[in-house]
């Protein structure tokens, strides 16, 4: 613990801290461009200059200087002020004065810091340099003349995304940031460079010229594109969500978000269901709420009622759906739309038991039937961190480029029963072993049981450590399982009893051919597969248009707020179900969202406490002995749910990055 003096105040700093961190601990603000907490240190912008004694009698870059015992650091001296003004003047030499047409305007580090630390005027009257725009793919728009070469994007691509395709070519005044031969950056995390860029050089292409930051309403929400539960902030103006950006939560998403999380929002205003529909003579025709309710109430169900929950639902909607089904005398609830039927007698055997932040400390990891990069990109970044610390990764299943070295053992579920000796030995020596079980395993008979058997063989559970992790990729999954949205036998069993009345709560991945005899009521927000098959459509709210509780893959209960109102006649899902229940003569026992939430917490107390839910730890005895190939269920990362399928940005990403379609650049 070195003792340093910052502006005359003595303090202890942790060993290994830099001078910049010491200054921050002392509460001093140090301006910076290239330094970023989650990236390696570059030390090339020189904005963080401070005066340090002992040392050479000149300002020093605090981000790259280790704090040492007895240092006297000054951040308020005349020398520091002059140094900052000088650096700022140099940075602005080649920076265009185009703030009025720059998307970064209003949230620009360069703007803010030049106001705070600059000298207010430039003495430079030569020509500024200009740099051509670069192609970085469908997400990132470039205006490279604005670039100040902080190289944050280069470091992010290499270190966090694991796609070292961004770099700085040429040198000196000619230095340019670009992707390799200007191909689109093939990363599902590329949108993060937009947030990292301290100037307006890299901005979001879909959000270009949409809004100014100060006219946006900011709402804290939880992302539903995958099961990680990324903490996001929805920026909306009027009734439209214009962008989603990550919030910092070190337990979940650090400060990253996948491209799908960021850019599905343009799907929220397309293909929306904004009025009720009723199927008449085989065609869906617009109707009033009363007509739609009447059509449903007319169904003679005599208790044969079932509900299928979609992947994007909040717990409140699912609870209201469950309550309605139960009031009507039904019991069948299912959330695993694609037909998975794994055992849920112990939730601990189907959850991601290792907290995401702890996954970074794992030392030996076995991936089973998962394409982590597509199923949960932010879990993949955690794994990359573990590997950087020396973790070894084995994989069973189809081979994917996960951006790090994996020792693939083969694509055969039978391997679970007879792991190579080298793997068992590696796990035997591991202090924090982890196994990640993907959706490919849950779809295979016996494979789930096989992986649970390995818990014992590989010693995955130790004191204070549980390395058995099932990876879900539906935001509603863990919440649904806690609320009982699982029927033994899965969706096949539900279809087998041929329910008279079927509530499809935003369920778009179901094979409705199995439910031809049911009267299908679709409560959801997009005109997608579920709505096409429905007999009555009740327009609901998307994740941005309702407050809700979500449980992520590790069982973390999180709450999101409502950012905007649903379009047209659409209503929040719970209020639809509440109103419908009255028409059907089975009035539900809540009149407001607060009452609903209270009811839900009464039924499942764990949903009332934000944070990790405790599922205990018990291993059910399941059938084992799976054989054959495993397959990852995600075929196209960018088109996994109704919202992204409606989003033009996601469609373009899919075409360009997954299917390799080349788009001609617009002539400018």
């Amino acid at each position: 613990m070195p003792k340093v003096k910052v502006d005359g105040v003595e303090l202890d700093v942790p060993a290994g801290a830099t001078v910049l961190q010491a200054c921050e601990l002392a509460g001093k603000e140090i301006p910076r461009f290239c330094y970023h907490e989650r990236l390696s240190i570059a030390g090339n912008c020189r904005m963080c200059l401070v005066e340090v004694k002992p040392g050479p009698p000149k300002p020093q870059a605090s981000c790259a200087l280790p704090a040492a015992e007895g240092q006297e650091i000054r951040t308020d001296s005349e020398m520091v002020k002059k140094a900052r003004e000088g650096v700022m003047e140099f940075l602005l030499i080649n920076h265009p004065l185009d703030c009025p047409i720059c998307d970064q305007g209003g949230e620009c580090d360069l703007q803010d810091q030049s106001v705070a630390y600059g000298r207010g005027a430039s003495r430079y009257d030569e020509n500024k340099r200009a740099v051509t725009e670069k192609n970085m793919g469908p997400i990132v728009k470039t205006v490279m003349t604005r670039c100040i070469q902080c190289t944050r994007c280069v470091r992010f691509a290499e270190e966090v995304a694991g796609v070292p395709e961004i770099g700085a070519i040429y040198r000196g005044e000619n230095m340019q940031i670009t992707t390799y031969l200007e191909h689109a950056a093939k990363s599902e995390l590329s949108g993060n460079v937009v947030d990292l860029c301290p100037v307006g050089a890299l901005t979001a292409k879909p959000y270009a010229f949409e809004a100014r930051p100060w006219e946006l309403k900011k709402t804290h929400a939880i992302d539903v594109m995958d099961a990680v539960g990324t903490n996001i902030r929805l920026d909306s103006r009027g009734r439209q969500v214009l962008r989603a950006v990550p919030r910092i939560n070190d337990d979940v998403n650090e400060e990253w978000a996948s491209d799908k999380t960021r850019h599905n929002v343009d799907g929220l205003v397309r293909k929306r269901l904004d009025k009720p529909y009723v199927r008449r003579d085989g065609k869906l025709v617009p109707a009033t709420w009363a007509e739609a309710f009447a059509a449903i109430a007319a169904v003679q169900h005599s208790g044969s009622v079932a509900a299928i929950a979609g992947d994007l639902l909040d717990c409140e909607t699912m609870f209201a759906g469950k309550a309605l089904v139960e009031r009507l005398g039904g019991t069948m609830l299912e959330g695993r739309q694609t037909g998975l039927a794994y055992d849920v007698s112990s939730l601990s055997s189907v959850v991601f038991n290792t907290p995401l932040a702890d996954l970074e400390t794992a030392d030996v990891i076995l991936l089973v039937g998962t394409n982590l990069r597509w199923e949960a990109p932010l879990v993949n970044t955690r794994l990359r961190k573990a590997i950087k610390k020396g973790a070894k990764v084995f994989g069973i299943g189809p081979e994917f480029d996960l951006t790090y070295k994996v020792e693939w053992l083969g694509n055969d579920a039978a391997l679970l029963g007879k792991l190579p000796a080298a793997v068992v030995e590696a796990f035997g020596k591991a202090a924090r072993p982890a196994m990640i079980v993907g959706g490919g395993v849950l779809a295979k008979d016996g494979a789930h049981g096989d992986t649970l058997t390995l818990v014992e063989t590989l010693g995955l559970v130790k004191e204070g450590w549980n390395g058995y992790n099932v990876l879900h990729f539906a935001a509603a999954r863990m919440g649904g399982l806690m609320l009982g949205y699982a029927t033994a036998g899965g969706i096949k069993a539900v279809a087998a009893v041929k329910p008279k009345l079927l509530f499809a709560l935003g369920a778009d991945e179901v094979d409705y051919a199995a439910f031809t005899e049911s009267f299908k009521v679709y409560v959801g927000h997009h005109g997608d597969k579920g709505a096409h098959a429905a007999d009555v459509i009740l327009p609901g709210a998307s994740y941005a248009e309702k407050a809700g509780t979500y449980v992520n893959l590790e069982g973390r209960v999180q709450r999101g707020e409502k950012a905007v109102f649903a379009p047209g006649d659409a209503r929040e899902d719970w209020s639809i179900l509440r109103a419908l229940s009255e028409v059907m003569g089975a009035t539900l026992a809540f009149d407001s969202f607060e009452q609903l939430r209270a009811e839900m917490v009464k039924a499942v107390p764990a949903l009332g406490v934000e944070g990790l839910a405790d599922y205990g730890w018990s291993i059910p005895s399941l059938s084992t002995g799976a054989t054959g190939e495993l397959a990852s269920p995600i075929k196209d990362f960018y088109l996994t749910n109704a919202i992204c399928r409606a989003s033009p940005t996601m469609q373009q990403c899919s075409a360009e990055l997954v299917h390799g379609v080349e788009f001609a650049e617009a002539a400018e």
Partner: protein, 222 residues
């Protein structure tokens, strides 16, 4: 735009250089080069390998060689290095040519000492012989490049042609050098005036006795 990377047509380059591989002799050389660096640090060999590849390309095309993209990727694969990192190195250093050059790569220094000592005349000589800055002559013989200081200021003005320096140039001597090269001859390397390397013009000005043999100067100190 002026700052766009000068990469020749990609499809054509890939067709021509896609199956680049080291010659047997160079493959040996590559092993020696990589062995110079400790295990796990093989990426340090990227610069000598790029140079070697450029020379091999030069030998194959009867020019001074350049680095087609597939060749950079070949080296990236060999060193287990992202292509972008190889590309960054190749674009950073002016010694690596990103586009084809002629048989003689004439690099004229135009930095201050050379300029003061008459590099403008050297450029004039080049221009008179049909050389254009940044371009190759139609006969494929000469590529003219203006470069920054090559570290031979004592012999300014100077040019570097291929691996040799030609120093203390004037309009006439530069013309003569180019003529000799065009005729297939080998001009005298080094200073083009009566001078050994960077020693004083017209012979030594100090320690004159040492020219003939070892001389004991100790008596002169007293």
């Amino acid at each position: 735009m002026a700052d766009a990377p000068h990469i020749p047509d990609e499809a054509e380059t890939r067709a021509r250089w896609g199956n680049f591989a080291w010659t047997a002799e160079n493959a040996e050389q590559v092993k020696t080069i990589i062995a110079r660096y400790p295990a796990g640090r093989q990426q340090s060999a990227v610069m000598p390998l790029l140079d070697l590849a450029q020379r091999q390309v030069g030998a194959e095309t009867q020019t001074q060689g350049w680095l087609p993209v597939p060749v950079m990727e070949y080296i990236g694969d060999q060193l287990d290095m992202p292509y972008m990192r190889v590309y960054e190195v190749a674009t950073f250093y002016t010694m690596y040519n990103l586009a084809p050059v002629g048989r003689y790569h004439v690099q004229v220094c135009g930095t201050t000492p050379c300029m003061l000592r008459g590099s403008d005349d050297v450029f004039a000589a080049c221009k008179n012989k049909g050389l254009v800055k940044g371009a190759t002559t139609p006969d494929g013989l000469f590529t003219l490049t203006e470069v920054e200081c090559l570290g031979a200021c004592a012999n300014a003005p100077m040019v570097q042609i291929n691996d040799d320096n030609f120093e203390d140039l004037t309009y006439d001597s530069m013309s003569a050098v180019l003529e000799t090269l065009a005729a297939g001859g080998q001009p005298k390397i080094g200073p083009q005036i009566d001078r050994q390397t960077s020693c004083p013009e017209g012979g030594p000005t100090t320690l004159k006795e040492m020219v003939e043999g070892n001389h004991d100067y100790r008596g002169a100190w007293a």
